[in-house]
Symmetry: C2
Subunit: 490 residues, 2 copies
Amino acid sequence: MGTATNKPDDKKVTPRSQDFSAWYNEVILRAELADYSPVRGCIVFRPEGFAIWENICAELDRRIKRTGARNAYFPLFIPQSFIRKEASHVEGFSPELAVVTHGGGKELEEPLIVRPTSETIVNYMFAQWIKSYRDLPLMVNQWCNVVRWEMRTRMFLRTTEFLWQEGHTAHATREEAEGETLAILEVYRAFCEEFLAIPLIVGRKSAAERFAGAVETYAIEGLMADGRALQCGTSHFLGQNFARAFEIRYLDEKNQLQYVWQTSWGVSTRLLGALIMVHGDDQGLRLPPAVAPVQAVIVPIWRKPAERDDVIAASRGAFAALTQAGVRSRLDGREGVTPGFKFNEWEMRGVPLRIEIGPRDVAAGEATLARRDRAGPTSKLKSALNRLPESVGAILGEMQTGFYRAAKSAMDARTTEPADFESFCQQMEGEGGGGLAYVYWCGSAACETKIREQTRATCRAIPLAQDVAPRGCIVCGQTACERAFFAKAY
Amino acid sequence: MGTATNKPDDKKVTPRSQDFSAWYNEVILRAELADYSPVRGCIVFRPEGFAIWENICAELDRRIKRTGARNAYFPLFIPQSFIRKEASHVEGFSPELAVVTHGGGKELEEPLIVRPTSETIVNYMFAQWIKSYRDLPLMVNQWCNVVRWEMRTRMFLRTTEFLWQEGHTAHATREEAEGETLAILEVYRAFCEEFLAIPLIVGRKSAAERFAGAVETYAIEGLMADGRALQCGTSHFLGQNFARAFEIRYLDEKNQLQYVWQTSWGVSTRLLGALIMVHGDDQGLRLPPAVAPVQAVIVPIWRKPAERDDVIAASRGAFAALTQAGVRSRLDGREGVTPGFKFNEWEMRGVPLRIEIGPRDVAAGEATLARRDRAGPTSKLKSALNRLPESVGAILGEMQTGFYRAAKSAMDARTTEPADFESFCQQMEGEGGGGLAYVYWCGSAACETKIREQTRATCRAIPLAQDVAPRGCIVCGQTACERAFFAKAY
């Protein structure tokens, strides 16, 4: 990421097939989703991009609250000593920390860390609040900014500051905490597949990919259009690691002091990157209707001044009817800009449905609808103006399913079950960017390392439901204990 | 603020009349709105308190968006050199800054400031985005955390980190920017009076109270129950100060380069403090229904096991009917806790309406409603169970108006128009905590300083509509140019 605003002047973005990374950056800048900032590794979320994040927050927040978690807010700053309390946590996060050393014109006695995640400060407070089994389970979530000093950054996917939600829970028993870890994983899966139309693989992480401080990490992973995987959310079973570090104990029903069992889980603004890389095309962003800030844009079209009034009146009527019906609509009544310019702009921004209203449409009592999920003649269809809300509602519903189905087909087409290590390596080196390889594996760190070194692929997820049939590990040939998805990842 | 969790053990909080400050802190801790944190000057927003803030955000966000502003997000960190670009801005904020000097294990070349407010970074970006008059007006808002290194902190009112929204706009003309400043002031006024039931005085700030970098600052001010004023929100006309510092220029319709005219405006989590200090009483918090996370709590009451099933069934029916009708309801079905304990707890948390359902109520097809805005026998009334949603809706509506009216009467009773400086001083020293004094004033810094030094009162607001009749300044006797509200303030 540079520090200058870098908006390409040409109308078209670099074709996705030609240079995926350039295409990705150009779509973000051209659609005005985000911009580079003058602060190293930090981006600005512009209104077009932030509106997508707001929709994600609203829907996911509803789903998280339904599980019984409640929102709270913990301090941005964490005393340096806190980070050091959990051994593997400090080891994992130390290289990434931003440190406040001065406040109010003076050097601080103890430096403060800008939170990279909030397990330590949350659990310090949990220790104050949890006294008895009656205080459990304690389930909180916060929407906030976090900072990790990343060396190589990429807009939305890996930035020094990013936005996310982080849930933290404490339970009386191991079983309950493990259940919560998996229940949230399922919330994330359903949210991504239903709302973002992003198909996923779901499973446990290998030890090498585990969160610093967790006993087990589970993740949802998507496959991007360039064949690389993207971790879209994680849910951690923390065991009693933080409970012991922060002395979080409760009196059980028999009046015995017990350590709590814990979980933490989060998704971030990286989901915006996933939306672009799963659904986008050479015309720009394509948004599934559920998450699109604008679901339908109305473009009035006229040439002669005499046509204007009728076209504008019909467009306003269509806008009012759609808004009334709960469709998030925009009427693009700008003058001095050609319809073609508007078409390109709204296509770039990913608006699912364009509604063109011209003099002939008005005369026929119709509108012309153009679907963003189709190209060529099949993308256009007619609707009676007085039945617009019904038509639009039906098409948007169909598009939501269609987006998921198309992405699922693309993922399935790139998911293989290589029979041996040679074909595995060939796949990862191939033009398709690698895709997902579903392989038998002995689970050893040695074989995982060999895969990474030879192919740059890592273990993305070990599905929860496993084949029982014993097979040979794709690397060493010894008995495989599990089957896992490997891919090159962001 | 200390660092320990300090929950008083006794059931009652210190009476408000006895020690307002102790009462305030105890209500916050006992109602579990917030807690002290281990980080100097920072608090934790607990779920009960954060839910109020979420309601504030949701409603104010709707109102702000209706004005045409859109949400965005700018980086937490600001290069130190940016803060220095606007002379009075750096002077105002320098003593309060938190500074990041190390990132990723290395000392930074240029230290980063944790934003105390975002004018500088926002305007750096505005300079990239604004090229032509077609890009104007540009109106963005962000909900975020900010940090100001405060020496003396008080929960919600003044904390090192706090949450707020900050709006930033750029316009082609001075008139439009001035209009925006006042339009937002009116949004804030209407929001506080209608939604929070907090009556306000509204006006311009004196030069001494102006935002660092503004040409004019306007504010809404509330009067707390201890007779001290609290600034509840500000809207600044920035003129071209930041436009010149950050070179924000646009090509006008005649192709001439012009500096933009700007505004900024914000309200913060301090509004939670205002809610407590305006509406609270010796039983704890009292929330106006519009902002209350729980508007009605249902408490089933029974003694004999045989009564239980009918009471629970009726309570569940009431809960379902209320929820269905859009009333934010809670059914407190806890066992092993007395009804009296529950009553106290929900009163402490400020829930507007309690609905008691006991065996006699069930037999009579009734429920007993207890209003949080009344004490004694008039607080209780009966409603037919099958007409509960209508009764509750009507009472909640009446309570919302009632909360405002009661607070307005209290403010009016404490607003005086002292005839001379002596009675002004007496009022400020009096038992009532000062209240609001509406006085003629010559507008000079000398007289303002004399008032502050002798009474600790400051100029809170100079109303926009001014008497034209010339009078003598209450301090120096010279011709007064304006009439202003003075008060001791938080």
